[in-house]
Amino acid sequence: MTTPKPLLDIENLQVTFSTRRGPVEAVRGISLSLAEGETLGIVGESGSGKSVTGFAMTRLLDASGKISGGRISFRDRDITKMTSASLREMHGSAMAMIFQNPRGALNPIRAIGQQIADAILAHRKISASEARAESLELLRAVKIRDPEKRMNAYPHELSGGMCQRVMIAMAISSNPALLIADEPTTGLDVTTQKVVMDLLASIAAERGMATILITHDLGLAARYCRRVVVMEQGRLVEEADALTLFRSPQHPYTKRLVAASPTATSRVEDLVTDDEKLLVPAVPLAPPPKPAHGTPPLLEVLDLVKRFDDGTVGVENFSMAIAPGESVGLVGESGSGKSTTSRMICRLLDQTEGVINFNGQSISHIPAREFHQAPQRREIQIVFQDPNDSLNPRFNAFDCIAHPLIRLLGMRNGAALRRRVGECAHRVGLPANLLERFPHQLSGGQKARIGIARAIACRPKLLVLDEPTAALDVSVQAVVLQLLDRLRREDNLAFLFVSHDLNVVRMMCQRTIVLRNGAIVEEGESHQLFDSPKTDYTRELVDAVPHIEMIAAEKMAAGA
């Protein structure tokens, strides 16, 4: 096999952003090349410069970002020196991009058929009706149901997955040779994620397009790319065949990243390599205490129903129990009712019917708006999804943690409060000198720790965790998960762990409940449930999560 001329060749690319605090180097000299029809994954955590690299390749950087050095040649033309006219000519027809947040990436006030037609008409001189006919074909190609009807739909009328298909249709409308997908499935459900990625891969293969997949998800990159490069702080640290990278990472950063990514077989305690261990020494891990027979459950939910005002059913006949110290996972796709359920259980939302007993006492008769006065409020605490939005921007870390102590335990400002806040901060591994800082001065992981410290401040018995790590990078997620698991064992806390990430739930929870359309599809011991799912839906969910053995098998099959 002769090596053909590469389609794309990047040499020592540097990108600098001018900010108020001076220039920031986002990409510091990376070199890579891509052949026609090849698939390449660029993996890295937030701030690694992977997206910036993608935008630099297409010259779609923000006005503040500049390519400060290096060369990008695409089919022997240097992109960095192109005029805006030839760039416009190239966009769409030679290289196209697919973005994160598909709904935002589409014009909200233009019908999708029109938008695809716009993209076609940008490069070909054909009549509007011909362009319209072609957009219809493209909608068919990306497997949108009822394409005739959808032609006139607006982005807000479509689901996120549908919008991403429309985006794909736009990107391939002029048959580009290179498709750059920047986190194309972040924010989509696992099953939708698989469908969209499969579609993207098959279209690219069919039309012989080279693809670059930019993602934070190692598993995703390994599954859909032949070759993967890893970026850290604007540099390429490792480049290898996808499977090799996963199985025997060489660079320490890659090793950490691979270790931190939860897989089907990983355990919480294995997630983090030594140099990232918590500030506090870990306690020896005792096996979780088995609840003795006959002890009443900590939480008991019977026939919970939620109907919304417009008649839609959010949750139907939901029953479950959690023993003290037990950790139960709640999984399902968006719209499955998992958040609604968890909100009713932690009394932020009133149920329509059903009973919730906590510690043998009914709490379901207390309306959500009055529950803050109930004694059970301090026993049931919540860790929210978004560590940024769930902290008051005017409160510093100390105030955030002290707030529940003052409101729920009636503690006064003073030495006792300071000691207790310090204790909580110490337990979550938050250095005491950070307590004076405000949320915007802290990193995502530190904010997540504050959220946890706030939740455990009143020594609750049940913690409801609503996607607690969804917004975090894998390495930070690993640390936070470990922290949560340790706290649970130390305090004999019970968890209701809501997540869409099956691998995380499998590690963190002894039992798992699978929800779909507001009803329980399946429940059982986590490992058993995921290893041998009884229902098709659960199997679909499990299969949608990429894992290494499966990927290896798939690749073998494809190669043979």
Binding site: G92, S93, A119
Partner: protein, 343 residues
């Protein structure tokens, strides 16, 4: 079509919900006029030395001797029948006075708004395309000047330049000079009526009379319109869908106009509605400077002479205009943004 139906239903619901507010305005103005110092009977008596009996007689004629609640009741009854009372100043029905003067104010305000929009939107877009550039600063300076200079100053300045120095515009006294024969009144808008009558000399004369006061008013409102256009255009240009449009290679014009500007225009519609209502009421200075026979100067005169009925009528008219303008803005918004008609 369903969207049209939905828009109509929404508009009707909006209108119905603003009726209580109109009623509140009615009562509030009535009470306000009664609280204000000044006795219309004294004012309209023959002279400062007129006797007590004469004042009493006038007061009785005007119904001011009755208790306030009864006056209010009578007033509401009259308004309900479409009778806004009689102006003591002009001796005519307030309804008739307002109907004569409203088209003049509306024509002036519409023209001013049109001029302002035609200038402000391109200026805002230009400023947004190159933020921090000379153009941006120039637009900012122009807007600041427009807001800083009071309308009577800019009005007088324009008169000084175009009438006194260059002599290109006619003397600033009203809508047409008195020797022009007026066209048959169809709409009350002189420009339209002249055009309908086919009298283009008359149209030109009316246009020349109109252009200076309209520009004076426009200058004042260009600033908010241009600023909001710039801000929302900046947001729009920085949005993900404009990046998408660039990534598929759409032409510059299509990106700026079809993608960015159409999205950016939504808040401008809202502001334009507010600006229009404010202009209509607040253009009293312009009307005074240019001797424009509009409703605002009419209301001011009435207020100065404690003439209750025209003031109350004027406030009610303004409130109604406000409601209608909001309605129009609402409908326009529904047409411009498909996301609104849902929910």
């Amino acid at each position: 079509m369903t969207t049209l139906g939905a828009t109509a239903i929404r508009a009707a619901r909006r209108f119905a919900s603003s009726l209580p507010a109109l009623f509140g305005v009615l009562i509030f103005t009535f009470l306000l006029m009664r609280v204000l110092p000044g006795d219309p009977a004294v004012f309209f008596a023959s002279g400062p030395n007129s006797g007590k009996e004469e004042i009493e007689t006038i007061r009785k004629q005007m119904g001011l001797d009755k208790p306030v609640p009864q006056q209010l009741f009578l007033y509401l009854y009259d308004v309900g029948r479409g009778n806004l009372g009689r102006s003591l100043m002009t001796g005519q029905n307030v309804t008739k006075d307002l109907r004569e003067r409203l088209p003049a104010s509306l024509e002036l305000t519409f023209s001013a708004l049109l001029i302002a929009l035609v200038l402000a939107i391109p200026l805002g877009v230009l400023a947004a395309l190159k933020p921090g550039s000379l153009v941006d600063h120039g637009v900012r300076l122009f807007c600041a000047l427009g807001v800083c200079v009071p309308t009577f100053v800019s009005g007088l300045l324009l008169i000084y330049i175009f009438y006194y120095l260059f002599g290109v515009s006619p003397d600033p006294t009203g809508r047409v000079d008195i020797f022009t024969t007026l066209p048959p009144a169809h709409t009350g808008f002189l420009l339209i009526d002249f055009a309908l009558a086919g009298d283009f000399d008359g149209w030109w004369a009316a246009f020349k009379q109109l252009i200076l006061p309209a520009c004076t008013m426009a200058l004042f409102v260009i600033a908010p319109l241009a600023r909001i256009t710039r801000a929302s255009m900046l947001a729009s240009l920085g949005s993900d869908f404009v990046r998408t449009a660039r990534s598929v290679g759409l032409s510059w014009w299509r990106i700026i106009v079809t993608y960015a500007l159409r999205n950016a225009i939504l808040p401008v519609i809202t502001i334009a509605g507010i600006v229009f209502s404010t202009m209509l009421g607040a253009n009293v200075l312009v009307e005074k400077v240019f001797s424009w026979p509009g409703v605002a100067s009419y209301a001011l005169d009435a207020l100065l002479s404690s003439d209750y009925a025209p003031v109350q009528g004027f406030v009610l008219l303004m409130a109604s205009v406000f409601v209608i303008v909001n309605l129009v803005v609402d409908v326009l918004y529904g047409i411009a943004d498909p996301r609104i008609s849902i929910g």
